[in-house]
């Protein structure tokens, strides 16, 4: 029996396993960085980890604060600029990238712009950042949705998934063959896309979650993989790495914030 773990650790590991050895990987801040660090340490020692800010081939020692955080590594191999980081993706040199999700539809199209009307939003989300261009040209895109929603129709389409499904992405002539989202991770399970219809389906389910828990969050009749499995239990090695590398992430955002504020109150002479 291996050590106890938090849900956050399980999520990191599920994502890390999407990084294969010798691949070129564009990371995002948060879960993907920890996943990248874990993959590099345990599964994919020759992967080239990159940030769109032009940090190419780095080994994260700490979680990054933002996409241009060069404080979280001890040097890197190649300092290029944002322009070239994207055109290198355009040319097909990026194997896998990671994007966060606000809303997602049946075919993996993503909204990270706004909830409600774009011009007068109920909630303004971050925007595109690098997302729209990466999902267009990286060979695979891993989507992570920790606080977002499945919807029938996006309030805003920021990042192109499989458009209207089937071969519509390929037929648009805008994207290289074989690109598109390969997986969606949520706090409840792992989803993948049907090879033909490109419709999203549930492929793995996390411990303590039922299919019904998931289905009630999806406003259409969600397909389930015939070989649906439970997300595998972390190994001690995986748990130890994440505990040490990203303790705040292991705690989850709310608990980490609570503990951090409490600590600051203790430390500061005045507030």
């Amino acid at each position: 029996m291996s050590k106890p773990y938090t849900l956050q650790k399980l999520l990191v590991i599920a994502v890390a396993k999407e990084i294969h050895d010798y691949e070129n990987v564009i990371l995002g801040v948060g879960l993907p960085t920890t996943a990248g660090a874990l993959a590099k340490a345990l599964y994919a020692p020759h992967a080239t980890l990159m940030m769109e800010s032009g940090i190419i081939d780095f080994k994260p020692l700490l979680p990054l604060n933002h996409i241009a955080d060069a404080h979280s590594c001890r040097g890197f191999s190649y300092a290029t600029d944002l322009f070239s980081a994207f055109t290198m993706t355009y040319r097909g040199f990026v194997d896998v990238c990671f994007l966060g999700v606000g809303q997602i539809d049946k075919y993996g199209n993503v909204n990270t712009m706004a909830i409600g009307d774009y011009y007068k939003p109920a909630m303004r989300l971050p925007g595109s950042g690098g997302a729209a261009d990466f999902i267009s040209y990286a060979k695979r895109t891993v989507l992570t949705m920790l606080g977002g929603n499945f919807v029938n129709k996006l309030d805003y389409m920021t990042s192109p998934g499989y458009l209207k499904g089937g071969d519509s992405r390929e037929k648009s002539g805008l994207f290289p063959k074989g690109t598109g989202p390969s997986m969606l991770l949520t706090t409840k399970g792992v989803f993948r896309f049907d090879e033909k219809s490109r419709e999203i389906y549930l492929a793995q389910i996390h411990p303590r979650v039922s299919i019904e828990d998931i289905k009630k969050e999806v406003p259409w009749n969600l397909k389930i993989a015939p070989d649906l499995s439970e997300t595998p239990r972390p190994t001690d090695e995986e748990i130890d790495f994440i505990r040490s590398f990203a303790p705040a992430q292991s705690a989850g955002r709310e608990l980490a914030l609570e503990l951090t504020v409490a600590n600051m109150m203790r430390k500061a002479k005045v507030i």
């Binding site: 994207f86 909630m123 261009d133 805008l174 994207f175 500061a268 005045v270």
Partner: protein, 286 residues
């Protein structure tokens, strides 16, 4: 912060930082809801491409066509038709998505070091720093240290803005605080956290700005207030340790045409012998 202070009517952006997650908010969201702000969204690459075009003196730049499938292309605000335009490649006939050049009026950029002429050196994540500065009509460089010119000259590959483009250079230690400067200090999680917490609500941001922006006559006053209030321990704890780049040898074999014996290296003659030859050959004008 500028949006929060009501300085912005129209914003072209690629990313809006949201404080406090779902329950939080941002100055931009509040301004959009209040209809005091118009917004135009690009991808990071697209807006960077606008500055790269501006940096090179071009009127437009081609960008990546995938965006044509998204609402970034379809939904437009104050830029209208000029947000994106599509042309045909003159060689391949394929559709090319373009964006117009951007040449900001002023760029204020904080770097690690500069010389007094303004040659600005920056290292770490390059991002769009150089393009943003070089596209701009005026450039103000602030830096952690003003160093001697020979430091710059020995390491020209770190320079991102040449002196002749710089309008002013200012030495401001801790100039990026509470954010970070590679090789000088890390982000200050305490002060940055305070700012983020205050940014989640309009009155919070206002009181933070009253204290830390309007309430400080200059940068020294800001630091004095910080140290006076919170002590210097946090700052000491975020100071960067040494991890220096492996140097590049910019040396050559010699720096004068004359060897140690005073002979010209190609011709093998001393200056006197050479002048004598010139005279013998009738080359000299008296």
């Amino acid at each position: 912060m500028l949006v929060g202070a009501g300085c912005v009517e129209k914003l072209v952006t690629t990313y809006v930082l949201r404080a406090g997650g779902k329950k939080g908010g941002s100055a931009v969201e509040r301004a959009l809801t209040a209809a005091t702000l118009q917004i135009e969204d690009y991808t990071n690459f697209d807006y960077n491409a606008r500055m790269v075009a501006g940096m090179h003196g071009f009127s437009f730049m081609q960008v990546l066509e995938g965006v044509m499938a998204t609402d970034l292309f379809h939904k437009r605000s104050f830029m209208g038709e000029d947000k994106f335009r599509v042309i045909k490649c003159p060689y391949t006939e394929k559709n090319i998505l373009t964006v117009p050049a951007a040449n900001p009026d002023v760029c204020i950029v904080h770097v690690q070091r500069a010389d007094k002429d303004g040659n600005a050196q920056y290292w770490g994540a390059m991002g769009s720093v150089a393009a943003a500065a070089l596209a701009s009509k005026r450039i103000i460089v602030s830096c952690e240290e003003i160093v001697e010119h020979d430091i710059i000259q020995s390491s020209p590959h770190l320079t991102i803005i040449p002196a002749y483009r710089v309008d002013a250079v200012v030495e401001i230690p801790w100039g990026a605080h509470p954010t970070e400067v590679l090789g000088y200090y890390n982000i200050d999680p305490f002060m940055y956290g305070l700012f983020m917490m205050s940014d989640a609500a309009a009155d919070g941001l206002k009181s933070w700005m009253d204290e830390w922006v309007y309430g400080c006559v200059n940068r020294a006053a800001y630091l004095d207030r910080y140290i006076g209030g919170f002590g210097s321990e946090i700052l000491d704890g975020i100071k960067a340790k040494a991890f220096y780049s492996a140097p590049a040898n910019h040396g050559s074999a010699f720096t004068t045409r004359w060897d140690r014996e005073g002979r010209e290296r190609f011709m093998g003659l001393t200056m006197e012998e050479l002048e004598k030859t010139f005279q013998e050959r009738g080359k000299l004008y008296e």
